[in-house]
């Protein structure tokens, strides 16, 4: 899911929190303690690990078998049209269980994430309140928190990068902070932002991606996107210098972490 560098950072962080992470192991057996409770697990390599609780987290799948006989059309999820309607009048489905018949370009029919569920809720609320509004997922974004590392993503960041995408990655020399900006090789237009331990403004990233802003221009104004609390370390200069070095560019950073400038960029005044 995450690109290699970020995944590495998260793995190290999880280890720091005292969790014995075994990325290469697989469970082959769960052992019974004789009283119907678990006593341990055995891995494929034959190792025996004692425990009294097992959690299995292998992806999410809609639990909709109870709808089989209901007449509502289902596939992997509950099938809905662009108004989030099922085949039965006045029955809607949203969130993890909904499967969109014709998803938007680049989006999956089932998106088991919080923001998709909430956005769908906003649309369906309009529709059921008498203002039918077709679901538009908008630009992809997400966030999470891995113990103490905050993670935000805006736009398209793929773990395995396609041929026509270039990436710029900067990581703080000591702290668990990084930013990644993906952009198109030919036009240099930015397509995605990936942030670890640094907060970025959704609206600014969104604006840049929507308007096909080039990476150089983004670099020039990078501070406008920053959403860290006041007085936090400002590393924009450092990031832009790294970028200049790696890409042989001469960008000069001019941005400031100031809401009034952001308002101007988004022409909200």
């Amino acid at each position: 899911m995450l690109p290699a560098e970020e995944a590495q950072m998260v793995s190290e962080h999880i280890l720091k929190h005292g969790i014995d992470l075994r990325l290469e192991s697989e469970i082959s057996e769960i052992l019974d303690d004789g009283n119907g409770s678990v006593s341990g697990v055995v891995t494929k390599s034959g190792e025996h690990i004692k425990c009294n609780f097992v959690g299995l987290t292998v992806g999410v799948s809609p639990n909709i078998q109870f709808l089989k006989e209901s007449g509502i059309e289902i596939n992997r999820g509950i099938l809905v049209d662009e108004f989030l309607r099922t085949n039965i009048p006045d029955v809607f489905a949203i969130g993890d269980c909904a499967e969109i018949r014709k998803p938007a370009v680049g989006r999956k029919p089932i998106e088991a994430v919080w923001y998709t569920g909430r956005t769908m809720g906003q649309f369906v609320a309009h529709t059921v309140c008498g203002k039918p509004t077709a679901y538009d997922p908008g630009l992809w974004f997400n966030s999470a928190k891995f113990f103490d590392i905050e993670y935000q993503v805006y736009g398209e960041i793929l773990a395995t990068r396609p041929e026509q995408t270039q990436t710029f990655y900067w990581q703080h020399p000591e702290l668990e902070k990084s930013i990644r900006i993906d952009f198109k090789k030919d036009t240099k237009q930015v397509i995605g932002f990936n942030l670890m331990g640094i907060r970025f403004r959704q609206e600014v990233c969104h604006h840049w991606i929507k308007n096909g802003t080039t990476i150089n221009e983004v670099m020039q104004n990078l501070a406008l996107a920053n959403f860290d609390p006041e007085f936090y370390e400002e590393y924009e200069e450092q990031i832009v210098n790294t970028y200049n070095k790696e890409y042989g560019e001469q960008v000069k950073h001019q941005g400031k972490r100031k809401l009034s400038l952001v308002n101007r960029l988004l022409s909200k005044i």
Binding site: S39, C51, W114, G138, E176, F227, P229
Partner: protein
């Protein structure tokens, strides 16, 4: 290994209060220091006070600082509020009730029965707790301690050392660090040392940051007389007092919001932010509480204006009565009800039960004034980050002013609330980077008008 856990929650209360060795030792030091003061208070120790004052203060200081250091030391960067709902002290348990009662009783004694603290007359001298503080008072003011000196000293001590603990807890958040240093500075230097030094020069006691109407007696007869009797200095204080209310406050609030005062300067806020930090989650977030808050705080603002107008009326006309209102009686009533009972007894005594900002939220007329300015004409707001809120409610939980931050954040609405003191904790605890305290002038009239989280595509 065949324990069957009923709860599999990672927040389960199976083991939340494991004290480290250092914490045990530091708590012992702190208790010992406190005990010395209590025993001295009740006459169990009769030696010269300096023999017990300095060791008790030292034990208290080292104990508090060391405890706080150890509690957050060796922790991975991040906000640590683990287990607050499982600890008796921070979840209105028995320890909280006991502490609340002790604090309340202490305030009652302080305000109305200072003789029980050992306050004596000039001839007899002090006894008990107040005598214990005579050496410190002698050192700073040149005369024996009063109950107010003891209170000020303890107050400053607590803000300073629990401030260190707070800084250590939030050390990865520079906003928290800077504003706590500011609070510690204003309390130690401006509120405690400077006024005491002024006294030692026979000038009137004056805390320059205690602005009317928080400093409700500023326009009282005796106070104005005292100022007028002390020459240029008195005139300066009078001038500064009026200027800080009329000019400084509106200007600073325009640029930075109410926070410049409430969470950077004020002593009441200072105690709430440092000693009160473990209790911030106890504030009532209900709509009903908000309603009560607005009625109460604005009534008190009206009360202080009326009371001050009456007092000045009497001063300039010599008339004690305006209609049926007796200015002396009204100002006494204000002093008793608001100045003492509310701000002290309830304001601090109830920390462990109602959260740390009861006074600031429901009672303080200065907060009401700042709030009106913040709401109508200020660059300040808490910006929400597009549609990133996950409605987890951390921000609302830790809002000491009882603002339901989440209800704004989840619809992407900026937060402009007169009660917001700008402590920045909501922004610190938010797991998704949704909240930022900021100032901007170019959209000042549009603050909080739009909701950004509507629809995936919110442009």
């Amino acid at each position: 290994m065949s324990t069957n856990y009923k709860s599999i929650s990672v927040a389960s209360h199976h083991q939340t209060e494991n004290l480290s060795t250092v914490q045990k030792i530091s708590l012992a030091m702190l208790s010992l220091g406190g005990l010395m003061q209590v025993i001295y208070w009740f006459g169990g120790l009769t030696e010269a006070p300096s023999l017990w004052l300095w060791p008790s203060l030292l034990l208290g200081a080292v104990g508090t600082a060391w405890y706080g250091y150890d509690q957050y030391n060796n922790k991975i960067p991040g906000v640590k509020n683990n287990g607050v709902w499982f600890k008796s002290l921070t979840s209105r348990g028995s320890v909280a009730w006991m502490l609340g009662i002790i604090l309340t009783a202490f305030y009652i004694i302080l305000y109305w029965f200072p003789q029980y603290l050992g306050l004596g007359s000039k001839e007899t001298g002090n006894t008990g707790l107040i005598r214990l503080f005579d050496p410190l008072s002698q050192m700073i003011t040149g005369h024996d301690a009063s109950q107010w000196f003891v209170y000020g000293a303890l107050y400053t001590f607590i803000i300073f050392f629990l401030g260190l603990k707070f800084i250590w807890k939030y050390r990865y958040n520079k906003y928290q660090v800077f504003r706590t240093i500011s609070i510690m500075f204003f309390q130690t230097i401006i509120a405690f040392l400077l006024p005491s030094v002024l006294e030692s020069f026979s000038l009137p006691f004056n805390d320059f940051k205690n602005i009317w109407p928080l400093n409700y007696y500023f326009f009282f007869d005796w106070h104005i007389d005292e100022l007028l009797a002390s020459g240029n200095f008195g005139i300066f204080v009078l001038f500064w007092g009026i200027l800080s209310f009329l000019v400084l406050t509106p200007i600073l609030t325009y640029f930075y919001g109410k926070r410049w005062y409430c969470s950077w300067v004020c002593g009441c806020g200072g105690l709430a932010e440092t000693a009160g930090d473990p209790f911030r989650q106890l504030s009532d977030k209900s709509l009903k509480a908000w309603k009560i808050e607005r009625w109460m705080i604005h009534s008190i603002l009206v009360f202080v204006f009326l009371m001050t107008a009456l007092v000045l009326y009497t001063r300039f006309t010599g008339q004690e009565y305006f209609l049926f209102l007796n200015s002396g009686a009204v100002s006494n009533l204000y002093g008793f009800l608001i100045g003492s009972a509310f701000s002290g007894v309830i304001g601090v005594g109830f920390y462990p039960l109602m959260g740390s900002r009861v006074w600031c939220r429901f009672g303080c007329p200065m907060a009401a004034y700042l709030g009106l300015l913040q709401k109508t004409k200020s660059k300040f707001r808490i910006t929400t980050n597009g549609g990133q809120c996950i409605s987890c409610g951390n921000c609302s939980t830790y809002c000491e002013m009882g603002i339901d931050v989440k209800s704004y954040a989840q619809r992407g609405q900026d937060i402009v609330r007169s009660s917001c003191v700008g402590c920045g904790i909501c922004s610190a605890v938010c797991p998704r980077g949704v909240l930022r305290l900021e100032n901007a002038g170019n959209d000042i009239d549009k603050r909080a008008k739009e909701t950004r989280a509507m629809f995936g595509d919110f442009e």
